[in-house]
């Protein structure tokens, strides 16, 4: 039956997928049995009781025993299937406590993913094999639906609601993410990809950032784009403006900052360059610019990856 299963259903990415498939194949068997029964009886009657002149048909109004049989047996069968389906459903709706949590936000027309450390990615993420992952799903605009066929998991992304589904990936590979709640023009292009890989590759990916960033960093414009993304994703924008305005209880604007001479609160000063920016990101308290408070949290320890740092620097340079 495995050949039939693999013909009808996608790759099995998780134990949950195996469970769903087992029920799928059981219902398929039931379908085939009852369909053949109906078809056989219909064709048998048509051939065996073909119209002949002069035949008088018997007057049979009902048969209680027969009617009970075909009412009661299907009832028991479908109630059994109800419990089988419900068990699998409860399994997918209740995430385990130790699951890694990734938040998913649908918007026209892409998927935004956020990791527990605040790392954000669009459409493409990696997760480690063999560890439960919980996806908390919401939407920024209209309804979407987070569907991973290979995991047999699907849930609507609803604005201002946060629903969770989870799975434990069993095998490495690329798994498509599709939107299955109609959302307008590019509904069918709202495709994401979850790459499932071993722990070491996953950690390397998370540490260094995705390879697409290398592509971006090859050009200045791409680097600026990555920097702007990082500026928004890491929340720099809540304290630093890029249009020269001053943010209340915030930090200095980035506009024109590159190459500017700044004085420090505790005396001394610097011409803003790569070294000073890197230091301020890792140890913001070390040299606070005059007129500002020591309020910036540290983004050291890998919270901003080196590639993202390069992007930020390019972005700052571009804000003349």
């Amino acid at each position: 039956m495995e050949w039939l299963r693999s013909l009808l259903l996608p790759v099995q990415g998780s134990q949950h997928a195996q469970r769903v498939d087992t029920l799928f194949m059981a219902i398929l068997g039931l379908n085939v049995f009852f369909f053949l029964l109906i078809a056989f009886l219909a064709f048998y009657c048509v051939v065996r009781f073909k119209r002949k002149p002069g035949v008088v048909t018997p007057y049979i109004t009902h048969n209680l025993a027969l009617e009970l049989i075909w009412s009661v047996i299907p009832t028991f069968i479908v109630i059994g299937i109800f419990f089988w389906g419900a068990a699998g459903f409860l399994d997918y709706r209740i995430p385990p406590d130790n699951a890694m949590e990734i938040s998913v936000t649908g918007r026209k027309w892409s998927w935004a993913f956020e990791y527990p450390d605040g790392s954000k990615f669009v459409n493409q993420i990696h997760i480690p094999v063999g560890k439960p992952v919980k996806f908390t799903i919401t939407s920024d605009d209209v309804l979407h639906d987070f569907y991973v066929p290979g995991m047999r998991v699907k849930h609507d992304a609803i604005p201002q609601r946060y629903d969770a589904v989870w799975f434990t990936p069993m095998i490495a590979g690329n798994f498509n993410v599709a939107c299955t709640q109609y959302c307008g023009k590019d509904h069918s292009k709202m495709a994401g990809m979850i790459t499932i890989e071993d722990q070491a590759s996953y950690e390397k990916w998370l540490l260094e950032g995705p390879p697409e960033w290398d592509e971006l960093l090859k050009t200045e414009a791409g680097a600026v784009q990555l920097g702007k993304q990082t500026y928004e994703n890491k929340g720099c924008n809540s304290c630093h403006s890029v249009d020269g305005s001053k943010v209340q209880n915030g930090g200095p604007t980035w506009k024109g900052m590159w190459g500017r001479s700044e004085k420090f609160e505790d005396g001394g000063g610097v011409v803003v360059d790569e070294a000073y920016v890197r230091e301020s990101v890792n140890e913001p308290a070390k040299h606070v610019v005059q007129g500002y408070q020591n309020i910036m949290p540290s983004f050291g320890g890998g919270l901003i990856r080196d590639k993202e740092m390069k992007g930020l620097l390019a972005y700052m340079r571009s804000l003349k």
Partner: protein, 551 residues
């Protein structure tokens, strides 16, 4: 009490009286008619026109899906936005303008009073009003294309429908208007069945078509107001930005789905019960055998109508309803499957030891058994919670509901159209071409939608303009199937229309049925019966010839 038209009624007899078609002349006499038969015929015309438009749209969609980039001979057929508008229109026209009114309003209007031995429906003027309200709604729906199109899907899910451009409000009001037409028809039929049965016809002497249409009418009256209110709320939200369904305005988008399916699931039974009702006429007639389990079929229609109100949540398992609701709705969904199963076994048992003739209506009835069988059985995948989560909103669902709606209702409708065609038009259609058309439709249908089951179970989402190359072969198979299906349907149309050119040659009772409509002339006179007919035997009593008494 005298016994009239006995076995003589199977021949056309020599003398024909002026029938309802010729009773009055001129277009005005049709537009102002309160004759249920003429209203039925006018409904039939517009219902078939809607089917033609909706069907052509479907053929265009399938053609465009032949290649993943929508290119035929190097040029793109249409862009994603046009695609979205066309599938919305296809769905809205097929559901609200074709399938819902098809059997009750067209065939039901014509046949129901005849079956009951009545001169007309209980409220003939309301019947005509219902027709004009239908026309008004249809005009509104179609003009929404001209005035900016609608791209929401026929389900109008918020907040997309509350925020997208286009003539959504007009389409919503069209659905509102069409709903009133449906309510009027339902009210009329309920009153007709309660009050206008011929003497001698108790509730369990009624033909099962009447039971089916009666159960349908109950749903029409009780459920349709909900979609009306929902559409008005949607229009209010769009016009004045009052937060009802849009989360950014403080509304709840899931609430819309509850309201929508509270109507639209019972509407599935508005569509399928009349189909089952037709099959319950065709099978005993062409088996020349009494209906097996008459009461079980009658009660199961009512049971489906009632339980059908309690399963709307199965459209929303992965859409944000609570886990407990999902469990309850799944359980009740399985229970509603039982009455449908009972009907199928009863039909088969009726054929058992029958005397079966394979005229076109019977071929359609057997097609119905097989296609509705597949449609119903694949519903088990979708009623079960864990498999539904995988299949929800994929092509599997598309295939499933086409097997039920088209393989079930539309096949039954076409079968019924052939069955009553001699009574409606007074002519016999050409049996050979009707049979060929039926076989073409059966094959084309299975190729078109059978392939979509596999597309869906492999993970192809519905309402997709672009698709992955791995799905191309199955999509192409489906498109080729749609051509065969289209050819069969056009052949059917040609076959029926061609018969109209011939003389009125239909006998009163060409199939040897036992229900009252076959006791009168084909086509009937304006007032149906000469006096008040009296039912002398049950509707499927093949121990005696068709006999009707006179009060």
């Amino acid at each position: 009490m005298a016994t009239l038209s006995s076995s003589l009624s199977t021949t056309s007899g020599g003398h024909r009286e002026v029938d309802y078609i010729n009773a009055k002349k001129g277009i005005w006499s049709w537009m102002t008619t309160i004759d249920h038969k003429r209203i039925g015929v006018m409904y039939l015309f517009f219902v078939l026109l809607s089917f033609l438009i909706g069907g052509l749209l479907a053929l265009v969609l399938r053609l465009s899906l032949f290649s993943p980039d929508h290119k035929i001979a190097g040029s793109v057929i249409f862009d994603a936005e046009t695609y979205n508008r066309i599938f919305t229109l296809h769905g809205a026209i097929m559901v609200f303008m074709f399938i819902i009114p098809s059997i009750p309003a067209a065939l039901g209007n014509f046949v129901l009073p005849l079956m009951l031995g009545a001169k007309d429906v209980a409220f003939p003027r309301l019947n005509l009003l219902s027709f004009y309200v239908y026309l008004l709604g249809a005009v509104m729906a179609v003009s929404s294309i001209v005035l900016g199109a609608v791209d929401t899907g026929w389900t109008f899910y918020t907040p997309y429908s509350a925020t997208t451009n286009g003539a959504v409000s007009l389409m919503a009001m069209a659905v509102f208007t069409l709903g009133f037409s449906s309510i009027f028809t339902g009210m009329n039929f309920i009153a007709t069945v309660h009050k206008l049965r011929a003497p001698g016809m108790g509730w369990f002497d009624m033909p099962l078509f009447v039971w089916g249409v009666y159960a349908t009418a109950l749903i029409q009256v009780l459920a349709t107001p909900v979609i009306g209110i929902t559409m008005v709320l949607l229009v209010i939200e769009r016009a004045w930005h009052i937060g009802i369904f849009d989360a950014t305005l403080g509304g709840d988008p899931v609430l819309f789905q509850h309201f929508f399916w509270f109507y639209s699931h019972p509407a599935v039974y508005i569509m399928i019960l009349p189909g089952m009702a037709i099959i319950s006429e065709i099978i005993p007639t062409f088996s020349q055998k009494t209906m097996f389990g008459y009461r079980a079929i009658a009660f199961s229609s009512v049971a489906i109508a009632l339980i059908g109100f309690l399963v709307w949540g199965h459209h929303m398992f992965p859409n944000g309803e609570s886990t407990l609701s999902a469990l309850i709705f799944s359980f009740i969904t399985f229970l509603v499957a039982i009455p449908s199963g009972i009907k199928v076994f009863n039909w088969l048992a009726t054929m058992w030891r029958g005397n079966i003739a394979l005229n076109a209506p019977m071929l359609y009835a057997i097609s119905f058994l097989l296609l509705f069988g597949i449609g119903g059985l694949t519903g088990i995948f979708l009623g079960a919670l864990s498999t539904d989560v995988h299949l929800h909103d994929t092509y599997f669902v598309v295939a499933h509901f086409h097997y039920v709606m088209m393989g079930g209702t539309v096949i039954a409708f076409i079968g019924g159209l052939h069955y009553w065609w001699p009574k409606i038009s007074g002519r016999m259609y050409d049996e050979t071409s009707a049979r060929i058309a039926c076989v073409l439709i059966f094959i084309g249908f299975n190729v078109t939608f059978g392939s979509q089951f596999i597309l869906g179970s492999r993970g192809m989402p519905r309402r997709y303009y672009n698709y992955l190359p791995e799905f191309q072969h199955l999509h192409q198979m489906s498109t080729v199937g749609s051509w065969i299906l289209g050819a069969g349907l056009f052949l059917t149309l040609a076959c029926l229309l061609a018969s109209l050119r011939g003389p009125k040659n239909a006998p009163d009772n060409p199939w040897g049925a036992r229900t009252l409509e076959w006791s009168i002339q084909s086509p009937p006179i304006e007032h149906n019966f000469h006096g008040q007919p009296v039912a002398l035997h049950g509707p499927y009593d093949y121990r005696t010839p068709l006999e009707v008494g006179e009060a």
